[in-house]
């Protein structure tokens, strides 16, 4: 024992040390990652973020410099706080609280003391900066929106949060990333690749020299400019028309799938989300749970499509051969099925063929057609699947898989969908509301616009997209390959004829534009909300879909105005005006324009929140806008004149 005490102690300590070394160096997670090594200073060189242009080359988004006052608390020396505060235009309390925050964050790391100084403040401060040790100014690049349009399309950039940094190690604290819209979907293209310099520092945080002589340093790669498919003039026009209303407009060029405009109302000035007040303004927009300005209604708004969906049923019926375009179906001011009755506004006894069925939007006609489609196979269970597949071939009921940052799949039901409600028996009458675009079918405005584009093209569409051109890059094949629907080309003509008649003789006959053959379809959709848990009906949504001209179509459009009542009241007028603006460049139907500009739906939107009983549809009176407001809108319009 006496001889081995030291021997055992030596062995024991040796093993203990090896165990400790194992714990420190092997067991603990020590990635030899330069980025996480705080002995190495990472100096990033941020490239210029790419500009965004409209389809005609008009600059929409550029950059502007901004100056952040940074602080490294450990390096701060006693200073004249009074002078410093007055230069920064803050009070002493704010100085103290921010300084404490910075210190708590880390005494050694830079902290944004005051973000985004104005150029004027910067100029004054810069000369005196040397007096304040530990503080310095960091230049950053912010977005500059050249116009006030397209907030929902263009999106914005903001500082990355912890979740993004965890997901993508490219982003570091304080980096900017596209948060919405194009900025988000083309983030990697626009941002480029930042350069990095690794600098060895010592424990006093001084730079010693480049790490390994700059072996790992990289140069920044500039972000690429992007040309979008948006037509700035048309976009601006749509936003003016949608003032004081809620809803969306989507206009697509059918021959390419390019999105000409994408209006979501209400909108906001994108410059609100730039600079020092970004988070304040964002919170304000975000918290507006009634108007929901950040909610892109043309992409995310899922609504029952209403009558425009009848076009779809007509096409499926022709393809399935369950009706010919000449066959006439009698309407008894409605459609009787079993012991139930679906009303129609046709005079009882009217006999409609397909063109007139579309023109008059006859419910009985499409109920009949829909039942024939479902009942064509041995049972309606098979029939509805056939129907569903045809409808889905138009891009309905599914994400369009495009370059828009947000979207909704909508809903096109098949037999599986109904398994819950109708486990055993399933007859065509059960889902008859689908015949007229109500019931279980649901679509977003962009899906409707795409459906119209496919009709305009007589059987195919290009995935709607927002990207027109990236320098030195070819577009994704997804956007340049046509997608064929399951409907043969010849079946489109009677439907298009019907849509033309909507303008010439039907529900949109007062919305005609001289010299342009427009094919359209109105829609009026009942809708309900719960007020104090009572299901209450609101004024119908006003919907309109159209394309023009009939031959060689240039524009396909879907307009959706929440609680706008019947289709031609708001949506139809807006669609006609948009088409005229795009094709002719000037407006001849000033009467339509004046109507749209003069009327507001704001009081309609206020009704469900008013707490008092209210009337809807026929019982409403339209709110007119004070003349000054209208003049302001008109002043904006004159700026758009070529």
């Amino acid at each position: 024992m006496r001889q081995i005490l030291l021997f055992i102690s030596i062995i024991f300590v040796g093993i203990l040390f090896i165990a400790r070394l194992f714990f420190l160096q092997v067991y603990q997670d020590n990635t030899n990652n330069l980025y996480e090594d705080n002995a190495i200073r990472k100096v990033y060189d941020y490239p210029k973020r790419g500009f965004v242009y409209d389809r005609n080359g008009k600059l929409l988004v550029s950059n502007q410099p901004s100056y952040d006052v940074m602080v490294i608390p450990r390096e701060v020396k006693p200073l004249d706080t009074l002078e410093f505060c007055s230069l920064l235009k803050i009070d002493k309390e704010q100085f103290i609280t921010t300084y404490k925050k910075a210190y708590t964050y880390s005494p050694r790391l830079p902290y944004v003391f005051l973000p985004q100084l104005s150029k004027e403040d910067y100029a004054v401060l810069q000369e005196k900066m040397r007096k304040f040790e530990g503080f310095y100014i960091q230049k950053r690049s912010l977005r500059n929106y050249e116009t006030t349009i397209g907030a929902n399309v263009l999106g914005d950039i903001g500082e990355v949060n912890q979740r993004i940094m965890n997901k993508n190690p490219y982003y570091k604290m304080g980096d900017l990333i596209g948060m919405q819209g194009i900025e988000a979907s083309y983030e990697t293209t626009l941002r480029g690749v930042k350069g990095i310099k690794f600098i060895q520092k010592d424990r006093f945080n001084r730079n010693i020299g480049p790490y390994k002589k700059g072996k790992f340093d990289t140069l920044p790669e500039s972000g690429k400019d992007i040309k979008t498919t948006i037509d700035a003039t048309l976009q601006a026009y749509g936003e003016i028309l949608m003032a004081n209303k809620r809803g969306g407009i989507i206009a697509i060029e059918p021959s390419t799938g390019e999105i000409l405009s994408m209006v979501a109302a209400p909108t906001y000035n994108p410059n609100l989300l730039v600079g020092r007040d970004r988070s304040k303004n964002f919170t304000k927009l975000y918290n507006d749970s009634i108007a929901k300005p950040l909610f892109n209604r043309s992409l995310q708004g899922v609504y029952e499509p209403g009558s425009p969906f009848k076009l779809m049923n007509a096409l499926v019926a022709l393809q399935e051969g369950v009706i010919s375009s000449d066959e006439k179906i009698t309407c008894y001011a409605g459609y009787k099925y079993g012991n139930r009755f679906m009303k129609c506004h046709c005079r009882s006894g009217t006999r409609n063929d397909m063109v007139h069925g579309i023109q008059e939007s006859c419910n009985a006609y499409f109920a009949t057609v829909y039942r024939r489609i479902l009942d064509k196979p041995e049972n309606a269970s098979l029939g509805i699947n056939v129907w569903s597949d045809h409808v889905k071939s138009f891009g309905l009921g599914n994400f369009l898989n495009n370059d828009l940052y947000v979207g909704q799949p909508g809903r096109i039901p098949n037999r599986d969908y109904y398994k819950e409600i109708y486990p055993k028996t399933f007859y065509s009458t059960y889902t008859i509301s689908n015949a007229i675009g109500q019931g279980e079918v649901a679509t977003t405005p962009i899906q409707l616009a795409n459906m119209i584009a496919a009709i305009a093209n007589r059987g195919y569409y290009f995935t709607p997209h927002i990207i027109k051109e990236i320098k030195d890059e070819t577009l994704d094949l997804n956007y340049t390959t046509p997608k064929y629907t399951t409907i043969d080309k010849q079946h489109f003509e009677p439907v298009i004829e019907g849509m033309l008649n909507v303008y010439t003789h039907g529900t949109a006959k007062y919305l005609q534009i001289p010299d342009i053959e427009i094919c359209g379809k109105t829609g009026t959709v009942e809708n309900f909300v719960k007020i104090d848990s009572v299901k209450t009906q609101l004024t119908d949504h006003s919907i309109f879909v159209a394309f023009a001209p009939k031959n060689n179509p240039k524009i396909a459009i879907a307009v959706f105005v929440e609680n706008g009542y019947f289709g031609s009241r708001f949506a139809g007028k807006i669609a006609s005006l948009m088409i005229e603006k795009y094709i002719k460049g000037t407006i001849t139907r000033k009467d339509l324009e004046n109507f749209v500009l003069n009327h507001s739906l704001e009081d309609e939107y206020a009704k469900p929140y008013s707490g008092v009983p209210f009337k809807i549809n026929r019982g409403t009176t339209l709110q007119t806008i004070p003349i000054e407001e209208v003049n302001k809108l008109k002043a904006q319009l004159t700026k758009l004149e070529p």
């Binding site: 006496r2 005490l5 300590v13 190495i40 010592d202 424990r203 020299g209």
Partner: protein, 425 residues
Amino acid sequence: MFRQTDRHFKFDWVTIILFLILVVFGWMNILSASHIGTTIDYTNFSQPYGRQLIFIGLTLILIIFILSIDAKFYERFASLIFIVSMLSLVGLFLFGKNVNGATSWYGIGGMTLQPSEFAKAATALAVAKYISDLNTDIRTFKDQIRIFIIIIIPAFLILLQNDAGSTLVYASFFFVLYREGLPKIYLTLALTLVAISILALKFGPIITSVLAIVFIIANYFIQKKKPVILQPILTVLACIVIAFGIKFFYQNILQPHQQDRISLWLRLEKDPQKIAQMRRDILYNLYESEKAISSGGFSGRGFLEGTRTTGKFVPEQHTDYIFSTVGEEWGFLGSVFVVIVFVLLMLRVLKLAELQKSQFSRVYGYSVASILFFHFMINIGMVMGLIPTIGIPLPFFSYGGSGLWGFTILLFIFIKLDSNRINEW
């Protein structure tokens, strides 16, 4: 002076090779830890790595000198060497130079010399000489006291120079005395004292006292040969006094920074945020050295590639914290290598000591192993955060002429003694 031509072949080459490995590898790490920027100029003698080259060169001369002297010389002049060494320690109070609060150096021209580094070898000689004296019986209280005085003189002088770390090294002679027959009761007492101190600090003196009482009562009833009832009662009282005394000592006598070191070591502080804060502020050195070691990972970052080493993140890295350089640049593999080389060296010395025929050589060899072990244990243990911060160098590794020479003299006197083993018959 060589009596036989093949004399030098009788030196224990294993020990010498292990020594050389440590010195050379140590210098490489000093180079890493002390070069500035990205340029290295080996002839720059104003830098630690350059100066250490000179020190190593002088060490080789010193080794030849030590090995050339007759082995009997060391035994014969042990007392004189000890007295000279103690005088050199006393002289510090008159001529000493104060560096970082410790008056441990003589300034000679541009050089400094630290006599406490040589005092260890001198004390080892003196202890060996005294124990090997035919009249000495370590089991007697008289001789225990005398040996204790021999050891306590340098320890006390060094403590007065404010170098608590080096003082602690003299505790290593306990191993030597125990090996040579010091009664077991001292070991029991020492272990009990350590246990009670830790328990009293960690769980408070009351719980510790209760534990001690329970333990001693249980022990009393288990023992077949019952001692006088007074003995356990006195033991209990002693335990209680120690428990409360330690608490008092910790709270009132230790300086705040020493309290914090112990508090962190024993995890007395519960608030994790405060611990993190303390680690950053008080134990900045340890915090950085642990980080440097950790960042080495399994295979290290490579020679001269350690970012924390290059950036001088660990203060005193070329001296007391040199092992963190090994950790960062050579990783787990390199660190384990160093630990194993040290262990082998100590075990080798220990084995040779046991083989000595003369008691003087054996005691001296044992002292060498014990002193090396204490330095090894305290230094690396501290750098890795296993024990509280105590600043002593890592033998053969840390930068510094005095340290290197002190350990070289210590080790090579033994190698010389060992080579003379055959003549002892």
